[in-house]
Structures are given as C-alpha cells and as structure tokens.
C-alpha cells in the first residue's frame, strides 16, 4: 500500500472550483498524460492515462467511480487502472475548505495498491513523481479557472458505493 498526500491553495472559492473538479472535459485537460475521459454514467468515467517514471511509462485504461460527492466540500473517488504488466487501484479523496479571503484550501490524500513492474520502483520514487503530477493537475486546473474557461458539474456520487481497496 502506498500513500500520497498534499495540499493546494486556490484563489477561487470552493463552489466555483467544484464545477471544475466534476467536469470530465476539464479533468481530461488537466490530468497528466490523459488523452480523453469518457463519462460512462452520472458517477462513472473511463480514461486512458499514460504516466511513467523515466522510460517506464505504461498506458493505463482507467475506470473511475465517484463514491462521495458532497458539494462543495468533499470528493472521494475509487479508481483502477490496467496496463500491460502493471495495474493499480486507488482511493483518492479531496476536501475543499473556504479560506477567509474567499480562496480555497485543498487537502488531498490517496491510498494506492500498485502491482506489476512499477511497484518495483518503490514508494519514494512513485511518491516523488505522484506529488509532482498532482501539483501539475491542480496548477493546470487553477489556470483554467483563472482564464474563466466554463466548467459544468456533471458528476454525482454513486448511490450506496463505498471506497475500498480490494487488498
């Protein structure tokens, strides 16, 4: 089990950011190595994501389920990805807290079970890269919000789903 966590400061209020975090088109633009995201249902998405460490860069078919969407405070997702000889499963949660100046403090945390070749890279290597990728994601999303690119919340939580790792 690998754990990642971090935080991010945004100039935009939680309610505005929420639309960005729950708009698959926005997510596809910001997610590193992501070509497109298909919305499969109100709370399910699938994507193709290519991420890697050095020349080890598997392309994952990723399925995501939103298990908790408490607008505009908390979003929890269950995601699993398969690539040739690699796979991962993760529970990622994010909380948005309004700051006194109207901006948002975002805390994120993810637990992942990684198997296959990338697992051999170890927590430090994956953590180091994951931190960077997540920060890139937040920065890109903040840029879109700064530019006022329209975003529409299209995702809601799946009823009776809970966040679990199979392990």
């Amino acid at each position: 089990m690998i754990e990642f966590s971090g935080d991010f400061e945004s100039d935009h209020p939680p309610d505005e950011l929420w639309n960005y975090f729950t708009d698959p088109e926005i997510l596809a633009q910001c997610a590193p190595g992501c070509d497109h995201i298909e919305q499969e249902s109100e709370s399910e998405m699938s994507a193709t994501v290519a991420v890697g460490v050095g020349s080890v860069k598997p392309t994952f078919d990723v399925d995501m389920v939103v298990v908790e969407a408490d607008r505009p405070n908390r979003l929890v997702m269950n995601a699993g990805g398969d690539a040739s000889r690699n796979s991962f499963e993760t529970v990622a949660e994010m909380t948005l807290e309004e700051r006194e100046d109207g901006g948002t403090h975002v805390d994120w945390h993810a637990e992942a079970a990684v198997s296959g070749l990338i697992a051999s890279l170890g927590q430090r290597a994956l953590g180091s890269v994951a931190d960077r990728l997540v920060n890139n994601f937040f920065e890109d999303l903040e840029d879109l919000a700064d530019e006022g690119v329209p975003a529409e919340s299209k995702i809601s939580e799946k009823p009776e789903a809970t966040a679990t790792l199979d392990e």
């Binding site: 460490v53 050095g54 020349s55 080890v56 860069k57 000889r85 890269v129």
Partner: protein
C-alpha cells in the same frame, strides 16, 4: 529476456530526430549511448513502440572550451570528457565526474545527454551541472529553449523535458571559475566500480588569494547526489563558506548538507547513514577543492 517489438529509427540530423519526435511523441524513446535503456527494455520495464537512435547525429558530439564558457554536446561520451584535457583545466569537476562513472566499457558508450535525460538522482552529471549552474539546451521540431540544470530536474527520474524535445547540449559559464583561483572536486562513495555511488558531492571554491594558506572564499558551490529525489543544490552550505576561510565554514557547510539531505533508504545504505555521508562527502569534496584552489 528480449525487448518487446519496436521500430528502429536512425536520424542523421537534429532536424530529422525532432521531426520523428514530433510525429511519434510519447510512443518514442530516444536512444543515446544505450547504457541504461537497453537493459530496461530487455526487462520489458520499458516497451516503447519506436526507438530514435541519436548515434548518427554527429553534430551533437564534442567539447568546446571557450574563454567565457564551455559547451558540451549531448552525445559526447563519458570517455571523451574524461580525456578532454582542456576541459579538465577549465572545469575539473566535469571530467572528474565522468571518469568515475562505471567501468571503461560503459564510459566508451554512455553519453552526457543520456545521463542528464535519465535523471537518476544518483547520477554524476546532474549533480555536477547543478553545482556549476549549467544551462541545458533543448530543442523540438519548431522550438528551442534553454533551461538551467537547477530547474530541469523535477522529481525521481522526472524532468522538464517534453516528449517532443531532445537535449542538444550543455553550456557552463566560466566567469565564476577563474582557473588560477578556483578548485573543484567530485567525490563519491561507491561500493563497486560498476554501481551507482551511494552518495556524491560536487563542490567548487573560488578564493581571493591562491598563494595564501588560508585564503578567503569568494564563492562556493555545493551539490549532492542520491540524498534526495533530485540532484540536491545546497545554497545554505555555500552561504556558510563564502566570505571567510575554509576552516571557518566547513563544519557549518557539512551541517547544512545534513539538514538538506532527505534520502530514501537503499538495501545497502539506510537513511541515517546516507544523511551522515552527505555531511562527510561535503567535507571531503570541499577539502579537495580547497587544495586545488591553493596549489
């Protein structure tokens, strides 16, 4: 094992190579001296669809030592740097970091650009170039840019290099390092010649008076390998040294290196030991640099 199937490309110019990258992007991997990639591919950790071999791009090889700067082509081999006497005279840290890489067969084939792009935090050049504040030159089909080595390395084996870019070379400004008043050193702890070092320290010192036994240090450079997820520049160590003698600052510099170190443990070296080594190799490297500055 054998590598998974791939298509092999052998461009003869930078333009041809960047053109291929523009078309193939994420599906292509650049091949330089093939001292790491081949192994990773044979283990099928990496399975690129296309391999773009830079071996025939002659324009990328060579060292040019000018009065104001040194220019090193990305496809220059470790061996060529090791035996570049004019470079040793100008910036001793670079050939010294080259000559300590693995064994002769690796040094005959491995390249500067390959090592920089691989961005292993234990690698020698990334640390030397961060210490020397080198500039890296990157080019894509319709764009080129220069980025300081200190900004290029982002995370473990993760750099600012885009999928459509290649490294053409490295330049290092000589202005801070006048030959007659500067000493530099690259000291590393290695458990075996063919392995990556456990910890390395690249340092440079410029003194006011090389004839003095205890000269004042005008400028110091300190960077460490393999004690962080990127080559670790230690500005606090440099601040501790500048403006006084080596003896006045060396312990504070070692302490700064220890404070800055955040290593991941390895099978043969736990975190605590690597932190201690960060201090010890900073000391050793600074002492050697100081001897050379005052010889």
């Amino acid at each position: 094992m054998k590598p998974a199937t791939f298509e092999y490309h052998r461009p003869s110019s930078v333009e041809e190579a960047t053109g291929l990258l523009a078309d193939l992007g994420h599906d292509a991997e650049l091949l330089a001296g093939n001292q790491s990639l081949g192994i990773i591919m044979a283990n099928r950790l990496a399975t690129p669809d296309h391999l773009v071999d830079l071996g025939q791009v002659e324009a990328l090889s060579g060292v040019t030592v000018r009065e104001d700067e040194v220019e090193i082509g990305a496809m220059t081999t470790h061996r060529d740097l090791e035996f570049a006497d004019d470079l040793r005279e100008a910036l001793e840290m670079v050939p010294e970091s080259a000559e300590q890489i693995a064994g002769p067969s690796v040094r005959n084939r491995g390249t500067v650009g390959g090592s920089v792009a691989e961005a292993d935090p234990a690698g020698n050049y990334p640390t030397a170039f961060v210490a020397l504040d080198a500039d890296l030159h990157l080019t894509a089909a319709d764009d080129e840019r220069t980025i300081p080595a200190r900004e290029f390395f982002i995370a473990y084996m993760f750099t600012d290099l885009g999928p459509d870019e290649l490294i053409t070379g490295v330049t290092i400004d000589r202005e801070p390092f006048p030959v007659d008043r500067t000493g530099m050193a690259f000291e590393e702890l290695k458990r075996g010649a063919q392995t990556f070092p456990t910890v390395s320290a690249g340092t440079a010192l410029r003194v006011d008076d090389p004839e003095s036994d205890n000269p004042t240090i005008e400028e110091a450079r300190v960077a460490l390998a393999n004690v962080s997820d990127v080559p670790l520049h230690v500005p606090d160590a440099e601040d501790a040294l500048e403006g006084d003698t080596l003896e006045a600052g060396i312990e504070a510099a070692a302490e700064a290196a220890i404070d800055a170190a955040d290593p991941s443990p390895e099978m043969h070296a736990d975190e605590e030991w690597k932190v201690e080594l960060a201090g010890e190799y900073t000391r050793r490297s600074l002492r050697t640099a100081h001897e050379r500055a005052t010889r």
